[in-house]
Amino acid sequence: MSGTGLLLAATDTGTGEAVLFWVLAPVAVLASLGMLLSRKAVHSALLLALTMLCLAGFYLAQDAPFLGVVQIVVYTGAVMMLFLFVLMLVGVDSSDSLVETLRGQRVAAVAAALGFGALLMFAIGDVVVDNAGLDQANRDGNVQGLAALIFSRYVFAFEVTSALLITAALGAMVLAHRERIERPLSQRELSVQRFRGGMHPAPLPGPGVYARHNAVDTPALLPDGSPAETSVSRVLIARGDVRQAPGADVVVRDASQIEGDGDDR
């Protein structure tokens, strides 16, 4: 095999693009590293969104306006929002402890990733490219150019993608849609259920009641002086942001201690 590529001397891109690159690239890298390192999933998601926005910038800079927009709309706008949405549903309390539990995993993972990255860099470093530019390809407009390809050469892939989307929809239905199999309870039945159940027919106690503080993160005290666990938001408990009620002996530590059935929401 020949050792050199056919593409000859690299054509420089414009200065503006260079500036853009050198500004956005560190941001993208730092953001992705931040995604990797941040303790909270939400932060990770937001940092990933930032990275994606940077990429959108790159796309725009490389004569791919359509992709750049789609990147923002689909990825940053839709996909990442979906992530955040799911995080809200399931993962608000999922702040990773950054203590590694698998022996050797961290070292090995970092080493493997570095090694792999180094190999990739080495491989790419060998490449000498001619920057042909897309001026000709984009001559009728970027979108038109893409469309011409999508609807001719890649039309079958495009059509098949529909199967993918249907699958996705079907899958989401199967896994997330909860079919109601019993008759909905009437108002009366609900009332009966509520009182028969013996638990809190009335609203739950508010926070801070009878306590020295009435902040939302301070549990109410019951007449006997013990803290009312139900008086603070579960979210706060999960985040570990609950203050200790003065004089209280019990500290609520874990969401699971109070939660019963959480899968309805």
């Binding site: 050792g3 698998l102 995993q105 090995a108 993972a109 493997a112 792999f116 190999l119 990739l120 060998d126």
Partner: protein, 643 residues
Amino acid sequence: MPTTFASQSVQGAAATGVFSLSWLLIALPLFGAAVLILGGRRTDRFGHLLGTAMPAASFVIGLVQFFALLGRDAEDRAVSQHLYSWISVGSFQVDAGLLVDQLSMCFVLLITGVGTLIHIYSIGYMAHDTERRRFFGYLNLFVAAMLLLVLADSYLVLYVGWEGVGLASYLLIGFWNHVPEYAAAAKKAFVANRVGDFGLSVAIMIMFWQLGTVSFAGVFGAADRASEAALTAIGLMLLLAACGKSAQFPLQSWLGDAMAGPTPVSALIHAATMVTAGVYLIIRSAPVFEGAPDAQLVVVIVGAITLLFGAIIGTAKDDIKKALAASTMSQIGYMILAAGLGPVGYAFAIFHLLTHGFFKAGMFLGAGSVMHGMNDQVDMRRFGGLSSVMKVTWFTFLLGWLAIIGFPGLSGFWSKDKIIEAAFVGDGWRPWVFGIAALIGAGVTAFYMTRLFLMTFHGERRWTEDVHPHESPAVMTVPLVVLAIGSAFLGLLLGPTGAIQHWLEPVVGSHGEQTTALPVSVLTTLTVLLVAVGIGLAWSMYLRRPVPATAPVGTALTRAARRDLYQDAVNESLLMRPGQYLTRSLVYFDNRGVDGAVNGVAALIGGTSGRFRRLQTGFVRSYALSMLVGAAVLVGIMLLVGV
């Protein structure tokens, strides 16, 4: 060594007339054996009669053939009978064929004649054994095998008889195998014989390799063209075979134990016939040995050692049968010695073999008769003074005794004296060493046989309480008498007349007048003198002094002789113990080593599996790690290979 060895024509004339019945010689006793062994209890009633009739019939055929041979010219007395093609593969062609010649005829007559007598004797001796029929079956089997041995016309057919007699010997020694020692003795005999058979096997293989044939005719015809090394190798291997079968040093140890068999067996197999097969083999193979002087020397050495060895053991044995067995060993030593001397000794070896067959069989049967009267006791220290109660036995034994010690005029005198003479033939150191050994042997023989005779039949009665000795029935004594007659006169008949030499000359060759190292007359005198000394010594020790009921401690030599000169101890420490150790360690090795290696591989794979299995931790991130590492390695490999 000057020889006028005639290239013998063992490729005899085709069998006609009575000789076409040669196969019957073997077939008759074989038939008897088959009927008696397969027939089971149904044949109990007539088994012993059938068993006796068969060898008798063979004897008759043999006699007829003998006289037919006498009617022919000396050169035409070899008759071959081709039965069928036995093994035929490529150039390896072995026919089942029989050869009746002067040499085999001697044996045929000895085997069937003495054999028949012993069968008759056994009718009485085994009368009270419920398994008598089986006994006769085995005896017939033996006779058949022995006849096959001596009638075979090739080494391989001989080999069949050779092992056949070994089998019969095994069966008969172990006839009372419910006694564990007897069963062990039988096995010992067979195994020792097998060591010898190993030699015979190898000898036959060398023959085929070197000469391309295993028939007597082929081998002897080609022997003069074969290299001396090959012939020496064949000779030594044949000697090994002879040592095994004839209880010669160093394979002698089984014979004493073989006395576990019923006494007629000892008489027939372990005295008269089977044990002399080695002598037959060596003499039959004369053309081979003639070309291999080194092998001959070894034969002589073995003979000399054994004759002294047996004699020395014989002096210390108190068990009458074991003493006789030692004597047999010694006497066969004489024969082997003679056979090793070449043509000068061949005829006399056979001569001694024949006379020995008579007198030793007679003495064994006599001993059996004594045991019969003494409740199967064998300890001579418990005998004594039996001459008065067992007259016939005593008298026949007397003749046997005189014959074996070489009392002038009796059979043994003629045959043994000739061997001693022959041993003195030659130049250099040999006549002196071997001749003197033979002489000393004669003296010692006289001592121990006299000792045996006197301890048994004379002196005070040292019987235990419960025995009431009596003479045996006629069916037992008549054979004794016949054998005694043979012991007395056979020598006279064959020896001085030179009949045996002339008879055998076409087979074993002739020798001219040989000069002995000492004059013959001196030798004869010396022999007689030594014999007299031996008798006198024994007389003074065992007749004039009382014989203690338990053996005195004795000198170191006596003790050694009593223990068979430590032959068993030597075998045990040299062969058995190391063998057992080897076997045990191999069993261990097979389990742990060979099988262990295989199982070890399995365990290794299993262990590896178990360890690798743990890599499947169940953590997605570990899996992802392995994939990333794998991908990196893949990329690495591709970069290495591709760029």
